[in-house]
């Protein structure tokens, strides 16, 4: 265990500074329409393609910067890291996967939780990191959300969770499955305290995350075009044995079927979240 700690620590201290959101260089090429724009313009447009509106996947650091006033916030429980309770080995050891992920991303797990102000209103935000093992939900994600909700209860402030996840973390097997129950349990306490919970579903939100906290918001909102579903599109395609209809499992599709309140362009994200908090709190 000591060895594990020291290697993890090493991983964090030797991380590749702050990883860039975009490929190296001054230009950004849109993943959807392939248009090339100056990186600065792209960043000023909240990493959304100025041409086709494609919302590039961004990480928690960028979301927190977008949402919190003056990019000021206190990160919660950065000390929590995965423990590999099952000593899981597939083609690779889970521990090795963790070390690689920590080193490559400079993050400690698939969610970052923080406390700050959104347009002057105090709030807790939990934001998932897709680049950390596919944003998969293991014990750390569950515990961080659980503690974030504890803080909401203590400070009587709203909760915002930004989901971006492939689902459960298989290497934690049933521990990972039970995080669905754990986070839902905590959300019932938040509901009893009548504190608003805004769930923001971003590309992609699937599996156990969809089947727990992502779908349990008082308000469920999503970014345009985000893939949202329980079963992944590949699995659904295998089940029905034919091509999927156009637009299947997009945010727009999910809204039309009644499971989202609204779809919000990233440049309006902060305004809408702040407005909702205000409307529900005053």
């Amino acid at each position: 265990m000591a060895n594990w700690f020291s290697r993890i620590k090493q991983g964090i201290t030797t991380k590749t500074k702050d990883k860039k959101e975009t490929p190296e260089g001054l230009w950004y090429k849109c993943d959807s329409c392939h248009k090339i724009v100056p990186h600065e313009d792209h960043e000023n447009n909240f990493f959304v393609c100025t041409d086709c509106g494609y919302h590039q996947r961004i990480n928690s650091k960028t979301y927190l910067k977008i949402l919190f006033d003056e990019n000021k916030y206190k990160e919660l429980n950065p000390e929590l890291i995965a423990a590999d309770p099952l000593n899981f080995v597939d083609t690779k050891k889970y521990k090795e996967r963790l070390i690689t992920s920590i080193q490559n991303t400079g993050l400690t797990d698939a969610i970052t939780t923080a406390y700050g102000k959104i347009d002057g209103q105090k709030a807790v935000i939990g934001c998932m990191n897709f680049e950390f093992i596919g944003g998969s939900m293991g014990s750390v994600v569950g515990e961080k959300i659980s503690r974030a909700i504890d803080l909401c209860l203590e400070k009587k402030v709203p909760l915002i969770l930004i989901s971006k996840s492939g689902g459960a973390r298989m290497m934690e097997a049933a521990f990972s499955l039970m995080q669905m129950a754990k986070t839902s349990a905590k959300l019932t306490l938040l509901a009893s305290a009548k504190l608003p919970y805004i769930s923001i579903l971003t590309d992609p939100t699937t599996g156990g995350v969809t089947a727990s906290y992502a779908m349990l918001g008082d308000i469920n909102m999503a970014e345009p075009g985000a893939l949202i579903g329980f079963a992944g599109p590949r699995v659904v395609k295998e089940t029905i044995g034919k091509a999927l209809p156009k637009g299947f499992q997009t945010a727009e599709f999910v809204l039309e079927h009644g499971f989202l309140d609204l779809i919000v362009h990233r440049k309006e994200l902060k305004t809408k979240v702040a407005q909702l908090i205000r409307l529900y709190s005053n």
Binding site: F5, F175, M215, F230, A231
Partner: protein, 320 residues
Amino acid sequence: MTHLDFEKPVIELCEQLEKAKQIAEKSNIDMSTSLTEIEKRIDITRKEIYKNLSPWQKVQISRHPERPYTLSYIQAITDNDFIELHGDRNVKDDKAIIGGIGSIDGESVMFIGHQKGNNTKMRQYRNFGMANPEGYRKALRLMKMAEKFNKPIITFIDTPGAFPGLEAEERGQGEAIARNLFEMFQLKVPVICVVIGEGASGGALGIGVGDKVFMLEYTWYSVISPESCSSILWRSWDYKEKAAEALKLTAKDMFSNKLIDGIIEEPIGGAHNNPDEMYKIVKRELKKYIAKLKLLSPEERIQKRIEKFCNMGVYDEIKN
């Protein structure tokens, strides 16, 4: 009777026994001692095999086509008064999750469970125990009704997973499961869940939040089936045994990891070898725990239920 490959030694002895019986009948010779001898050996061999099962073998038993399914348990443990209740009052009646009310020795209970079929036609009718959102919403409707009339809830879990179909996605499979998790935590009545076969992923957990969660001895419960785990992590279907091993999905592992509250022992040779005995054991355990849970107030039960699940998970803390 369908037999699993590792049950072969028992099958051979059973065949020997049959032959010996035939000889005894034809020849009028008293063979009772050798017959008892073979019967004894069958017993010992079966015990031996079932004592040393690998995780994958347990997965195979959990799927044994002659294993009793939800409705069989309900018929056997109720006072012949079970009435099945249909529909989610919204879209349709799901056939992969059934529910209804019946009494156990005079006490009314709401039953909910995944239902598999025992022949090709029924397996299709039951969609192989893979529920659509309507199934979870029917389950929730019945649980809310149980709460209204202050009746305990018993759920039987036996599913290879929630159905990954097109309509299931359109009608919000994820939301349906999530809603059940959320609502089950605040149910004021006692809730007992028993994994009687397969407990795969969110599809199982969707009716699996209880004051007591038990697994029968030869069942499995995890985030994914060993086959799917093999195909995703090993990128091949050939590592299911290894995956079953790695996932720690057996009742024993789940109990030692504190992810379930207890293991209900099965008769020798598994539930399918002696269903009547299995029903008796399950009925006894359910009665015992309903009585225990009724001693607590609704608030105490809810608090304990929440605390139990909130304690699940293992992580480290980096100290500076």
